[in-house]
């Protein structure tokens, strides 16, 4: 318990603070060996910090770090307020609004900051959310559920399974739309996974994240969440999608199809782009208007949802680069690959020095597929000799499917069938809008 009261402090400083009965939030006076006096509130310290400094917040709001080695005397001269978050009152419910379930998986899509200490507390309950994003309660009747709390990069097939099952449960309980909050880094992989795992979805399921955490005034968390909830509640579509900013301004939130979306920027708020297709729908934050932009299945509560939440991790995505060691393909095969997606150059090529390895894989009944590392565009392996050679070897081109969707699909397909031939067949068959026979010029 003491450790929590002195969060982040360890070693000599922790001992000294304990001895002085100081706690986070205590008002402390430090007198240095040279007679300087510092006064302020004791602030938690980052876990990676050294054990020799302590941090005070001065009256004017600035934090300063003072070395213990230089300190003559440490006194607790008062008890400051502890960081606290008053519990907001539950939102006023508006009768007759559509029911939307929010499932939280991590990332702080919404959080509250204690400005005195800088402590950040995630806002996860319905009441918390309504206090942080009050618009929500006039858009939908919200229920919230914390499924788990993971960083985006730690999320994988087991989490996808958990999410798919939770979504099915929410829909069975009457949700007219589901919103899943999720860290943005792998948001599009999860979106693709759910697109395959939830067949015949009767209502929209929208994944949402924030490129800027909600402790920053430039945060897109609240606006993305508002847009996602509005689209989940009202848009006449029944698809898995990703709802994020369309551009830099807080104006339009767009829903991208889950199998055709990719994070294309490290930090911009409009990092998510529909690849090789138009987005599904948009929500205007100012007018509240929804526009459908792309053909998608319509809402139909009578449609039967079939849950197929299993994924096989013996699937590999291998990016080709000049000078690549072909052994990486052999190594994939030897670790039990049930399929390999090559992310080739341009129209779908890899260097001739990989051909032997590709041949060996195919010979061992490991299907090999081709997507392009150009991100946008369609593979066409009939244009150049290398492409034709690869086709002759038996490599299967994946049309205009993005590489990230391709690997997720391969994991899913591999869990649906034991046969290599069937894997190849299913990979080439559009299942959740992941390819189209025609890519429009405007889609770039």
């Amino acid at each position: 318990m003491t450790v929590l009261l002195l969060e982040g402090y360890h070693g000599g400083v922790l001992q000294k603070l304990r001895k002085s009965r100081a706690k986070i939030g205590s008002i402390i006076r430090l007198t240095s060996k040279s007679g300087e006096v510092f006064e302020g509130i004791l602030i938690p310290r980052s876990e990676y910090s050294d054990p020799t400094h302590l941090v005070l917040k001065m009256k004017n709001g600035y934090n300063i770090g003072i070395s213990l080695d230089r300190t003559q005397k440490l006194e607790v001269i008062g008890e400051g307020e502890k960081p606290h978050f008053t519990k907001p009152s539950p939102p006023a419910s508006h009768a007759g609004l559509p029911k939307v379930s929010i499932i939280s998986t991590g990332g702080t899509i919404a959080s509250r900051v204690d400005y005195r200490t800088g402590a950040v507390q995630p806002a996860l309950t319905a009441a918390d959310l309504a206090s942080v994003v009050p618009e929500l309660s006039s858009i939908a009747e919200i229920d919230t559920h914390i499924l788990f709390s993971e960083y985006s990069e730690s999320i994988g097939p087991t989490h996808w399974k958990g999410m798919a099952e939770e979504v099915a449960k929410k829909i069975a309980n009457g949700a007219e739309g589901v919103v899943i909050s999720h860290g943005t880094d792998t948001l599009h992989y999860t979106a693709a996974a759910l697109s395959f795992a939830l067949e015949g979805i009767p209502v929209p399921v929208l994944l949402v994240g924030a490129q800027r955490s909600s402790d920053r005034p430039s945060s897109d968390a609240a606006s993305n969440l508002t847009g996602a909830v509005a689209l989940a509640a009202r848009a006449d579509m029944a698809t898995i999608g990703v709802a994020m900013h369309r551009d830099l301004s807080d104006h339009i939130i767009v829903a991208h199809r889950g199998t055709r979306v990719r994070k294309c920027h490290t930090s911009r708020r409009d990092a998510f782009k529909s690849i090789n297709s138009d987005h599904l729908a948009s929500y205007n934050l100012k007018t509240g208007q929804i526009e459908l932009a792309n053909e998608a299945a319509k809402r139909d509560r009578s449609r039967k949802l079939v849950l197929k939440p299993r994924f096989d991790q013996h699937a590999y995505l291998i990016k080709f680069y000049p000078g690549m060691n072909p052994g990486i393909i052999d190594s994939a095969v030897s670790t039990g690959a049930r399929g390999i997606v090559l992310e080739g150059t341009g129209l779908g090529h890899v260097s001739g020095h990989l051909f032997d390895s590709v041949k060996r894989a195919l010979k061992q009944e490991v299907p090999v597929f081709m997507a392009s590392q150009t991100i946008w565009g369609r593979v066409d392996m009939n244009v150049y000799n290398t492409g034709r050679d690869l086709l002759n070897l038996g490599v299967a081109p994946l049309e205009d499917m993005i590489a990230e969707t391709a690997i997720v699909k391969l994991m899913w397909v591999a869990a649906q069938t034991k046969s290599a031939g069937k894997i190849r067949e299913m990979m080439l068959q559009p299942i959740a809008g992941e390819t189209t026979s025609r890519t429009l010029a405007e889609a770039f």
Binding site: N60, Y62, N63, I64, G65, Y115, G118, S218
Partner: protein, 542 residues
């Protein structure tokens, strides 16, 4: 954090006798006017508790912080503000003095003294805005007002003076309102729609608002008659203060107040009708706003709030300085609550070694620096001091090191006295960039132009900021003549004065010299002219 920025801040702290912290923590200070794209300014205390002595008086330096500069506002429309982002994120050092400055002139002297110390580091860039003064001004019974963006040192004492005057005027208004028995609660947020009264007026603002489906709203300000037009500082009235608030909070274009009406296309019958509809008595005033319903309401709410404050106190505000030293409302004054830790930047530990190294390399103070310049470059003590106090010392040193053919005293004179005299002649010398100055001296050093031509070149560049010095030299026909050119000119002059030359022999030199120099001034070295002329005259005689 940029390590050089931290080093400079530490160096400045030492020069201001402030004690560096052991560990620097970066904070986010919320700024949501758009000048910081992140919505916060990152700022960190580097050192505390310093002091300097200005004319025998000790001035405490409470705090030295390292911050990031914000974007510069370059314009606005009714619904948007335009910022330039080229200054955004540039390290900025803030030096805060204690509240011990008691008169406007002293404020100016302290600002000058701090500027001088900062310049001693030779890291301060020249140019308007590179040193800015934020002034905190408070008077007895008044309020703490922060004046932002005083760019010129000369303006410090003026701005402080005006701010004192403004607060005194506001206190006078408060007393008068008290005498008129007004309480803050008498001023009500009761907004009356007067669209029908003004719909027939000739006011362009009202007409265009109505065309866009807007409204005209009015609010009564009981007992404010005559006070709205009361001047606080030149051209700033109580009505102006209300207008600025309405613009800030209500996004409206401005307000009309009863002390300035009839005017702006609203005639006396309109004024009377509005007063009647509001139920105004003889001593009552009112304010009108024409805009969308939402904006008008927000605007009038801000007006009511300002009017209530007028009854009770001088409100704490952050104000922006105008070029004449008067100020306008910028935004409410923020408190410590808008500060929270910046989690993207880990704390920086300032080790003993770093401090020691900076201590050993501490730049000399202005007086020492001037002495050193005197001996090293044989400058007069006046010129050396001027140089130290100017923004040009680092540039001077660069030029002197590079343009070896130019006397340092000449460079110093141009950079201090000559530029200033050009400025007095209304030449926009602030347009001349450092690289252009260097080019000009380079050309002299290489013998491409005479040193007498430098001022003309700089003048030309001031009016042609995109040009280069070479271009100026050519455009102004100031390029040095080659020996051959010079010989030809001399021959021509001598030939056309053949009789005189033959009659006067070697005594003809003086007159010939004048004639030749008349043609080649600025394009030839007089010594060379004398030499060539003398040998030419020899030739003629023999």
């Amino acid at each position: 954090m940029n390590p050089e920025g931290v080093d400079i801040a530490l160096t400045m702290s030492m020069l201001l006798h402030a004690k560096p912290l052991d560990e620097v923590h970066v904070m986010r200070k919320v700024v949501i006017d758009g000048s910081n794209t992140t919505g916060f300014q990152r700022t960190a205390v580097i050192a505390l508790n310093g002091s300097i002595t200005v004319e025998g008086v000790e001035v405490p330096i409470e705090q030295v912080t390292l911050e990031e500069d914000s974007g510069r506002k370059t314009g606005d429309t009714k619904t948007s503000v335009i910022f330039r982002l080229d200054r955004l994120g540039v390290p900025l050092i803030e030096v805060s003095t204690g509240p011990v400055i008691h008169d406007p002139e002293q404020a100016g002297r302290v600002a000058f003294a701090i500027g001088r110390i900062l310049r001693a580091t030779k890291k301060v860039k020249r140019g308007l805005g590179s040193i800015r003064q934020d002034l905190n001004v408070s008077i007895k019974n008044g309020a703490l007002i922060e004046v932002k963006g005083v760019q010129e040192l000369e303006l410090v004492s003026k701005a402080v003076g005006y701010e004192v005057q403004r607060q005194l005027a506001l206190l006078e208004i408060k007393d008068e309102l008290r005498q008129r028995n007004v309480n803050a609660s008498d001023i009500k947020e009761e907004f009356v729609d007067i669209t029908d009264i003004l719909s027939g007026s000739e006011s362009k603002i009202v007409q265009s608002t109505l065309k866009q489906g807007g409204v005209a709203l009015a609010v009564k300000l009981p007992s404010f008659k005559g006070l709205l037009k009361r001047e606080l500082t030149p051209n700033v009235r109580l009505g102006t203060e209300m207008a600025k608030r309405a613009v800030f909070w209500g996004r409206v274009g401005g307000i009309f107040h009863s002390d300035e009406l009839p005017a702006y296309g609203i005639d006396s019958s309109g004024v009377e009708a509005v007063a009647e509809k509001l139920g105004c008595g003889d001593l009552d005033g009112f304010v009108v706003v024409a805009d969308s319903l939402e904006n008008s309401k927000d605007g009038l709410r801000a007006v009511v709030e300002r009017a209530r404050e007028a009854v009770e106190r001088v409100p704490e505000e952050t104000r922006a300085a105008n070029p004449d030293g008067t100020t306008v409302y910028l935004r409410p004054r923020p408190g410590a609550a808008r500060m929270y830790p910046e989690t993207d930047v880990p704390p920086v530990q300032i080790g003993e070694d770093r401090l020691e190294q900076l201590w050993e390399n501490l730049p000399r103070m202005p007086e020492e620096l001037a002495k050193e310049l005197e001996t090293k470059h044989s400058l007069s003590s006046k010129l050396a001091t001027q140089l130290v106090d100017s923004d040009y010392l680092p540039l001077f040193e660069e030029i002197v090191a590079q343009a070896k053919g130019v006397a340092p005293s000449f460079v110093a004179t141009v950079l201090t006295e000559s530029l200033r005299s050009l400025q007095r002649e209304q030449v926009p010398v602030e347009n001349v960039r450092e690289d252009q100055l260097k080019q000009a001296f380079d050309l002299v050093s290489k013998g491409a132009t005479a040193k007498e031509s430098v001022l003309d070149v700089l003048k030309w560049l001031a009016f042609h900021p995109d040009g280069i010095a070479e271009e100026a030299v050519d455009m102004l026909n100031l390029r040095m003549l080659t020996k051959l050119d010079l010989e030809n000119i001399i021959s021509k002059v001598v030939e056309s004065n053949q009789t005189f030359v033959q009659e006067n022999g070697s005594k003809a030199l003086g007159r010939m010299m004048n004639l030749v120099m008349g043609e080649v001034r600025g394009r030839a070295d007089p010594r060379q002219v004398t030499e060539l002329l003398r040998s030419r005259l020899e030739q003629v005689r023999t």
